[in-house]
């Protein structure tokens, strides 16, 4: 339009522009206050009217942990793996972070349907809030992990700590990418929530959490199957996490079987995950235009 141009620039309320917040993830971080309130709301609401409340966030992983250690460790017989419970626990931290963000993130947009339909907020807010809620829930588990490591005798070197940081950043960025993409897809195709159940199951068994990486290594000898296995960002994040928390507790840390060039691989994976976040954001923006009319 002709008059939307020149004299508009100095208008105190800014130029004429299409309404609606389309700044994506940046917009979310600009509105941190709202994000914080949404996270708090979610924390308040999630376990309301349940007798054990917040405790469920710890009972569920605890039961799973006990099952793995008892059944896989003692009944099936992986107990010979040094510090096997710590091996499982470290893996679980990573895998649970991913699966929880995935399942909560996927539902997040649909669950906030009245807001999406009627109010103007950056919609990326909802999957991001799910990720933060998961993070908050897992803090005590990280504390337990630290205490357990220190009790066993944990002496990480700087490379191990770097591995830990890489593990965390990979799993956060990958979960963010997947949460963003699936929350948008779930609006259009409600099959997605069934699909993620399957993924959750797959992720649990396709990462070296319950079994050690050496079983994969000795069966594949670095062939393409191993490479494929290591293309899974969750598997890499688990291995890096174990490099940080589990390996330094072993009597002979060099005895642990880990993939070659683990740290370099981690940096590569992190870069790939950042690209995935960007792609997921593009997908989200593209589908977002249809959100309000799909959820009447």
């Amino acid at each position: 339009m002709s008059h939307a141009g020149t004299l508009d620039a100095e208008h105190p309320h800014g130029p004429l522009q299409p309404p609606g917040d389309t700044t994506g993830l940046f917009g979310v971080f600009r509105r941190r206050y709202l994000l914080g309130l949404l996270v708090r709301k979610e924390l308040r609401v999630r376990y309301q009217a349940s007798a054990l409340g917040f405790a469920w966030s710890y009972i569920k992983p605890l039961v799973r942990f006990a099952t793995y250690v008892l059944i896989v460790g003692y009944v099936i017989g992986l107990k010979d793996l040094e510090n096997y419970p710590l091996h499982v626990f470290t893996g679980m931290m990573v895998v649970t972070f991913f699966t929880e963000t995935l399942s909560a993130g996927t539902k997040s947009v649909v669950k906030n349907k009245s807001l999406v339909n009627k109010m103007n907020v950056p919609r990326e807010m909802f999957p991001v809030a799910s990720l933060l809620v998961t993070t908050w829930h897992m803090i005590p588990q990280y504390v337990v992990l630290f205490i357990a490591c220190l009790a066993i005798g944990w002496g990480p070197n700087p490379t191990d700590l770097l591995a830990g940081v890489l593990s965390l950043t990979i799993i956060v960025t990958f979960s963010m990418a997947v949460g963003l993409a699936f929350s948008a897809l779930n609006v259009l195709y409600r099959d997605v929530s069934n699909f993620i159940e399957t993924i959750t199951h797959l992720v649990m068994w396709s990462t070296p959490m319950i079994y050690p990486f050496e079983l994969i290594y000795f069966r594949t000898h670095g062939n393409w199957i191993e490479q494929l296995y290591l293309l899974n960002p969750v598997a890499d994040a688990v291995l890096l996490g174990q490099q940080c928390f589990w390996v330094p507790t072993l009597n002979d840390p060099s005895s642990a079987v880990m993939p070659d060039h683990l740290i370099a691989r981690g940096f590569g994976m992190l870069a790939a995950c950042l690209v995935l976040v960007w792609l997921a954001q593009r997908l989200f923006s593209r589908l977002e235009g249809k959100f309000a009319e799909q959820m009447v």
């Binding site: 939307a4 299409p18 709301k41 009245s114 109010m119 103007n120 907020v121 309000a292």
Partner: protein
């Protein structure tokens, strides 16, 4: 005066999917029967609004009023044409949209204020004003799930008028609420108008529209049917044909 809102040949269609099983869908596809229907909610609407204008948006149920408001607020995007707005938009498309039933009135004030784009400091500064206006002080620390619909409307309205905006949208929210509260709302909306903010006001109530608006826009089946003086719009809609007893006190039916 600068332009505040431009709608340029805006069209919005909704695709209605017939709910059917996969089998029926495949059969329909094989027979080349349609599985979706398009419904044009807003059809080629062009409109230009100056800053400080108070527009009354009128039309029968299903004529596309709410869709038009959602296009202006940015919740929906047009299929054709373009929508341009200037400045911050606040308002109520539905009073309870931003409310969470399990949170208390107090928590909801903060949550809704933030949704409308207010900062924490802004909400703190306006908190008392919001509570005073809503008159629900006694129930402030109760979950809003236990509120009556009137209380809901009061709280929602109070938060949205507190948010500073350049364009203020009100969609039939005054339908709930008792006459004294409605009167207070009308007065507040008039103040907002006098501050020079742009107002989009949806109502079936001719008295309310006359009191607030300087211009009326009538939609009929998604098309712009009338744009001009309020009395002429009322005449156009034949809302003045019969005297309506309920209308006398500025109340809604």
């Amino acid at each position: 005066m600068a332009t505040s809102i431009i709608l340029d040949q805006v069209t919005k269609r909704f695709i209605l999917r017939d709910t059917m099983t996969l089998k029926r869908r495949l059969v329909a596809l094989a027979h080349r029967n349609p599985v979706t229907h398009a419904f044009t909610a807003v059809n080629d609407v062009s409109l230009e609004v100056e800053e400080g204008e108070a527009i009354g948006l009128m039309g029968l149920n299903g004529s596309g009023k709410s869709t038009l408001l959602r296009l202006i607020s940015g919740v929906l995007r047009p299929d054709e044409g373009q929508v341009l707005t200037r400045g911050r938009i606040a308002g109520l498309i539905e009073v309870t949209a931003g409310f969470h039933k399990q949170l208390t009135g107090r928590e909801n004030i903060y949550l809704n204020g933030a949704i409308l784009g207010m900062s924490e400091a802004e909400i703190n500064a306006k908190f008392d004003e919001i509570v005073d206006f809503s008159e629900i002080e006694r129930f402030l620390d109760q979950p809003v799930g236990s509120y009556s619909s009137g209380m809901f409307a009061r709280l929602g309205f109070s938060v949205s008028v507190a948010a500073e905006s350049d364009i203020f949208i009100i969609d039939e929210v005054l339908a709930v609420g008792d006459p004294p509260f409605k009167k207070k709302c009308i007065k507040r909306i008039q103040e907002i108008r006098d501050e020079g903010r742009t107002i989009f006001f949806v109502s079936h109530n001719t008295t309310q529209i006359t009191r607030i608006c300087s211009r009326a826009v009538v939609l009929e089946s998604g098309k712009l049917a009338f744009d001009g003086a309020v009395e002429d719009a009322i005449h156009h809609l034949h809302y003045d044909d019969e005297t309506d007893d309920f209308d006398a006190e500025g109340g809604e039916i």
